[in-house]
């Protein structure tokens, strides 16, 4: 019991540190990918290949002047970025990070909480995640911030529906809401992306909209809203808002890999004849590589596609994605009834 408890605490801290580290280096990767796609060099001054750039950015953010507008709601203004980063971190609790470890005869799952309703928990945290932006944007007492906050909330509510419906098809073919079970079944059979190609596409588009990433970054939209919900924020509060976006990217990449690309599973995993601990290490590495690929994909899309207009965004969400997701669900239901 005590070993399991200690292992859980270590796991929680490890995931927290990992999320922060990945988010920090995502900012570096974002600049490098942008530079690569635009035929530039990107940051290369701080350390070898500019590898210390996230550190330099962090120091810059912390040492900048902290400013709270006089007309703002002070408490809510401070609460906004904190809430946003809290909800960004919460999802990681239910993600299975690798196959179970075996230490001193005890099986230790690489998952903080294997709850019965894992998928719903993720959707719940995503739907609560909008409050950080809304509260921060409203408390700023600035019309651009308010417009950004309102855009963010309506966009997230609209795309949650299609996202939920496309996840339901996964639940239908798996027969369980537990993420551990979903990965386990993919490890036994085929990856869900082969069974649900349309569902995967819908989920991917919705994930872009939920994380407020380009081409759906209308809530911050520099050219129209001068930064949107974080216009009035400065110093590390702005840093937290930007940082949480990269955390959201990391977590949603992990969700895409878990739901559709077999999580920690890789082909011929059980034929290698390795011990459980080696397999756990390999599984985690493979899972991490999948996540990094999807983070790269987010950046690739950002520097390739132009931003949507707001009515186009709503049209795509309500009139294209939701009917498609419903059709996909109907087809999956009919298929599993007939065969």
């Amino acid at each position: 019991m005590t070993l399991a408890l200690i292992a859980k605490i270590i796991l929680v801290v490890a995931i927290f540190v990992l999320t922060l580290a990945v988010a920090a280096y995502s900012t570096y990767l974002e600049r490098k990918v942008a530079a690569f796609l635009q035929d530039r060099l990107g940051p290369d001054r701080a350390g070898p290949w500019g590898l210390l750039q996230p550190l330099a950015d962090g120091v810059k953010m912390f040492t900048k002047e902290e400013f709270i507008p006089a007309a703002s709601e002070k408490f809510l203004f401070i609460l906004g970025p904190g809430l946003f980063i809290l909800t960004a971190l919460m999802t990681s609790a239910v993600i299975p990070w690798g196959p179970a470890l075996v230490i001193a005869g005890e099986v230790i799952a690489l998952q903080v909480a294997d709850i019965d309703i894992g998928v719903l928990y993720v959707l719940g945290v995503v739907s609560v995640g909008v409050y950080g932006i809304m509260i921060g944007g409203w408390a700023s007492n600035n019309k651009y911030s308010l417009l950004g906050a309102v855009r963010a909330s309506s966009q997230m509510i609209s795309y949650e529906l299609a996202m939920g419906i496309s996840v339901i098809t996964i639940v239908m073919i798996t027969g369980s809401l537990s993420l551990n079970e979903i990965v386990g079944q993919q490890a036994q059979g085929t990856w869900n992306v082969l069974k649900q190609p349309l569902g995967f596409l819908i989920f991917l588009v919705c994930a872009f909209a939920e994380t407020n990433r380009a081409p759906f970054d209308l809530p911050e939209c520099e050219t129209e809203l001068v930064g949107g919900y974080h216009t009035e924020y400065s110093s590390m509060k702005l840093g937290l808002f930007l940082f949480a976006e990269y955390m959201n990217m990391f977590i949603s990449s992990a969700m895409i890999a878990t739901l559709y690309f077999g999580g920690w599973h890789f082909p011929y995993m059980d034929k290698l004849g390795l011990g459980p601990n080696t397999l756990a290490f390999l599984g985690f590495t493979v899972f991490f590589l999948k996540i990094v690929f999807f983070i790269f994909f987010y950046m690739w899309v950002r520097w390739t596609l132009p931003r949507f207009r707001y009515d186009q965004l709503m049209h795509l969400g309500w009139k294209v994605l939701i009917p498609l997701a419903l059709l996909n669900m109907l087809a999956t239901g009919a298929f599993s009834l007939l065969f």
Binding site: D116, I117, S127
Partner: protein, 163 residues
């Protein structure tokens, strides 16, 4: 376990009171969200995981976001809020008082079920789904038709200016 319940219940009631007494409507909505969160915590104590998460997704995640959305756009604040006349205030007090009376009358005679503890798995998704689709399938489907009607109605209202 009991202390957690009392803490959550106290917090829920406190936030509910703040919903009423807070002058700023946006603050009221934020307190209402906190109330919903504490009620969701009580569902966790009963091991009703599905109810807990649906409470979060539907009430805290969707309905309250729409409330906030509208209130933020309306830009209400205490200066522009019109003062209600005494008649309205008395009518409101009488209505709320009679509602309290009805609630107390209903809850007075219910048996205190001490059986409900974390040991039951009644609130898990599997049991809930089985019950909904076997024992209560007709009310369940009727409720879904009601939702469909509400959806059609709201679309029709939204399109009114076209005709």
């Amino acid at each position: 376990m009991q202390y957690i319940f009392y803490t959550l219940a106290f917090f829920a009631i406190l936030c509910a009171l703040f919903v009423v007494f807070e002058k700023n409507p946006v603050h009221s909505v934020l307190y209402l969200i906190l109330t919903f969160f504490s009620i969701a915590g009580i569902y966790v104590l009963l091991n009703a995981q599905f109810l807990f998460i649906v409470q979060l997704i539907v009430y805290s995640g969707a309905i309250m976001v729409l409330f906030l959305f509208v209130l933020m756009l309306l830009n209400l604040n205490k200066d522009t809020e019109p003062q209600k006349s005494v008649i309205f205030k008395t009518a409101g007090a009488i209505a709320a008082g009679s509602f309290l009376l009805v609630l107390v009358a209903v809850l007075k005679d219910t048996q205190q079920s001490t059986e409900l503890s974390a040991m039951t798995d009644i609130g898990l998704v599997k049991q809930l789904g089985k019950t909904l689709f076997t024992k209560f399938v007709v009310p369940f489907e009727v409720a879904s038709i009601l939702f469909l009607a509400a959806m059609v109605g709201s679309v029709l209202l939204g399109k009114k200016e076209l005709y």
